[in-house]
């Protein structure tokens, strides 16, 4: 209405709805956003420098702290990279347990991501409570297997720490009965909700070309219509023996990301079902005998050279680029964090929208600051 001069607002580091410590400097003309600049680095713990003074096995517990929502997926990334570098074979049973844990992490992460996004839209924590309930059940399973709920430190080079405890499978089968009702319930609660449609259709659109040029990965890229999934593009572990589909979106707005995440949960459920069927008759122990003891893990000296191992975490493609100089400590250790790269296009995505949309767009990208700042 009136000629308003531009106002600069800080959606500051201590704002209730940023997922962790992260600041958005927003220039606003009236209610519409003219420009937006993310400011992060508040949670930098020099993860990569730490790797250069630690041995490979000592890095495993630190990868839990990268994307603290899915620690198993981060462990998987480091394990794949070092095994590729050192040429370590992984027995079939260990691979199946690894895929089981990775897919359970995906279900857990997407349940929470969807719930946090709806929470940013203002739904008073009800979808969050349902999402967290399922997440707790999965975390109990992780605690039973690895010893900790969120900081699992469960993977070793060549396999996993210990085999599954005996009472793991019955609880897992119970959980598999509960998950379909949870998926249907979330869909009935949210998929056709008019207010959700109003708030998410056409908001924060990331067109296909722009997404590809920003090298965004994960559900955000697939929602823009690019069918790229590391599990299909470069199948690691036993993903080439499992059949599952890759949901992609058409418009690339928040509603597409929401739908892609819900569909991906269903696909992960399908994978876990296949793994449960095949787990009893898998061969090989829980770890490659050559690397069975912690002593061997500790003394691992991969040959000179570099490797780029990548894994499809629920946030996107997590890559580990490790340069080894033959000693027990990596010479250079770089982590390609999906949240960090998915965050860069937020400036473009929010331009032209309202302040209320910024928070929801941030929620739809689903970032974790531990991974962004490393």
């Amino acid at each position: 209405m009136l000629k308003t001069q531009e106002l600069q607002i800080n959606i500051g580091p201590q704002h209730p709805s940023t997922h962790g410590v992260f600041r958005l400097v927003v220039t606003v003309d009236g209610e519409t956003i003219v420009d937006l600049k993310p400011v992060f680095g508040y949670l930098h713990r020099n993860h990569e420098q730490l790797a250069e003074v630690s041995t490979y096995i000592q890095m495993m517990p630190f990868t839990d702290r990268l994307d603290y929502f899915n620690s198993m997926a981060n462990n998987f990334g480091l394990a794949i990279a070092v095994e590729k570098l050192a040429g370590i074979e992984v027995p079939q049973r260990a691979n199946y347990i690894r895929v089981l844990m990775a897919e359970l992490t995906r279900i857990l992460n997407h349940a929470a991501a969807v719930a946090f996004m709806i929470n940013d839209m203002g739904a008073w924590q009800t979808p969050l409570a349902f999402g967290m309930r399922e997440r707790e059940k999965i975390l109990d399973l992780f605690e039973m297997a690895s010893g900790a709920r969120m900081m699992c430190n469960y993977f070793r080079f060549g396999g996993i720490v210990r085999d599954l405890p005996p009472d793991f499978m019955p609880l897992l089968n119970d959980l598999m009965k509960a998950l379909p009702t949870f998926f249907d319930e979330t869909e009935r609660l949210l998929r056709e909700n008019e207010i959700l449609l109003l708030r998410s259709e056409g908001v924060g659109i990331l067109p296909k070309e722009v997404a590809a040029s920003y090298s965004v990965t994960g559900p955000v890229l697939r929602a823009s219509g690019v069918p790229y999934d590391v599990r299909k593009a470069e199948p690691y572990s036993v993903y080439n023996e499992l059949d599952f589909d890759v949901p992609i979106g058409s418009v690339g707005d928040i509603y597409d990301r929401f739908l892609v995440r819900i569909e991906e949960m269903r696909q992960s459920y399908r994978i876990v079902q296949q793994v449960i069927e095949r787990l009893p008759d898998t061969t090989g122990g829980h770890i490659n005998p050559a690397m069975a003891s912690i002593g061997k893990q500790k003394a691992l000296k991969p040959p000179v050279g570099d490797v780029y191992g990548r894994v499809e975490t629920p946030k996107g493609e997590l890559g580990f680029y490790i340069v080894s100089d033959g000693s027990a400590r990596p010479y250079r250790y770089k982590v390609r964090a999906p949240s960090f790269i998915n965050l860069t296009p937020i400036g473009d995505m929010c331009r032209g929208h309202k302040v209320a949309d910024v928070v929801v767009i941030l929620g739809s990208i689903d970032i974790v600051l531990g991974e962004v700042d490393r």
Partner: protein, 341 residues
């Protein structure tokens, strides 16, 4: 357009065809919520296959059973019958610990001056430990295991650096919390312990906890003692029990020196009690105690190649650590450094 992969395809998510929306979606959402509302009154969610019913666990009254694999903070084990600690101070756990929070010194046979497979001084900075469990995995003598007790809240930062006296737990206690894991390693551990006891003379490997806790005491007694001991106020009083009659002279001296060191360390936190306690022990004894322990330090196999500056510089200047703890840390590290030479 759906791209075909092997064993799967990429399909476009359907956004629902545009139809006249008059609130049906919202009413379906309401129906889901009201169902949860009614089921929350009747049902309590126990097994994972249910998706409705109250799933709150009222913490202090109701407690969730900890799975056996649960790991919180490391503890040291000592044999119930002989009171001997399993740890032989082989520095394996100190080397592998990612955040480098374990510090120990090897015990030395006072008469011959040769190192003995037992630990003199063992310290873990609980506030920096990230309970990753690597130390428990790497220990060849199964001396250090991960505990299940997580109620360790304390208001004193110095209290977070836990010494051997508070770390020790009887093997029977560990057996109760992790039966199958202990069963796997039980006989190996005991065989190694017998070997080590033969090479320890006098009361070197005795766990301070074993001295005070009566042999027959059930592990539960030891555990609450440890729990109770946590708060600083009581902590200084715990080892103050009058020294037992049948203790050898030399052992009494060592016990006193350790207590004095504790008191000095706790001096910063609880000045009042420390004053009147210090009055009983003569002060110069306390001063030279750390030196004695440092001097007694034996040479042992090489550890992580610490460079002097990053180590010494490593201790944060503005640390709130009690004053003498900083020197102690420096002395231990310089000792290690000297050893490595």
């Amino acid at each position: 357009m759906t791209v075909e992969f092997d064993r799967g395809k990429a399909y476009v998510v359907d956004r629902g065809q545009p139809k006249l929306r008059a609130g049906q979606g919202m009413i379906a959402g309401l129906d889901v919520v009201i169902r949860h509302f009614f089921s929350a009154f009747t049902k309590k969610l126990e097994t994972p296959d249910e998706t409705s019913g109250v799933f709150t666990v009222q913490y202090p009254e109701e407690r969730l059973a900890m799975p056996e694999a649960f790991r919180n903070f490391p503890i040291l084990l000592f044999d119930d019958t002989t009171g001997q600690e399993l740890c032989t101070s082989c520095f394996q756990c100190e080397r592998i610990c990612p955040p480098q929070v374990i510090h120990m010194t090897q015990a030395v046979d006072p008469t011959t001056g040769k190192p003995v497979p037992a630990v003199a001084e063992f310290m873990i900075e609980y506030d920096a430990c990230m309970s990753c469990g690597l130390c428990a995995e790497v220990c060849p003598f199964d001396a250090i295991k991960m505990d299940h007790d997580f109620e360790l809240a304390t208001d004193d930062r110095a209290g977070m650096t836990v010494r051997k006296a508070d770390l020790d737990r009887p093997v029977s206690y560990y057996e109760t919390i992790a039966p199958t894991r202990w069963a796997e390693v039980k006989d190996g551990a005991y065989k190694k312990l017998q070997g080590n006891i033969k090479r320890r003379s006098g009361s070197i490997g005795l766990s301070p906890r074993a001295a005070t806790a009566p042999k027959k005491a059930a592990p539960a007694a030891a555990k609450p003692a440890a729990g109770v001991a946590k708060p600083v106020a009581v902590k200084t009083a715990m080892p103050m029990a009058a020294p037992g009659k049948n203790m050898s002279e030399e052992k009494l001296a060592r016990l006193l020196s350790i207590r004095a060191a504790n008191v000095a360390k706790a001096g910063g936190a609880a000045p009042a009690e420390a004053e009147e306690v210090l009055a009983t022990a003569d002060t110069d004894d306390v001063a030279e105690a750390p030196a004695a322990v440092a001097a007694a330090r034996p040479v042992s196999s090489g550890g992580i190649p610490f460079s002097a500056d990053n180590l010494l510089g490593g201790v944060p200047a503005n640390t709130t650590m009690a004053e003498d703890k900083v020197e102690r840390l420096k002395s231990i590290r310089s000792g290690n450094l000297a050893r490595r030479g």
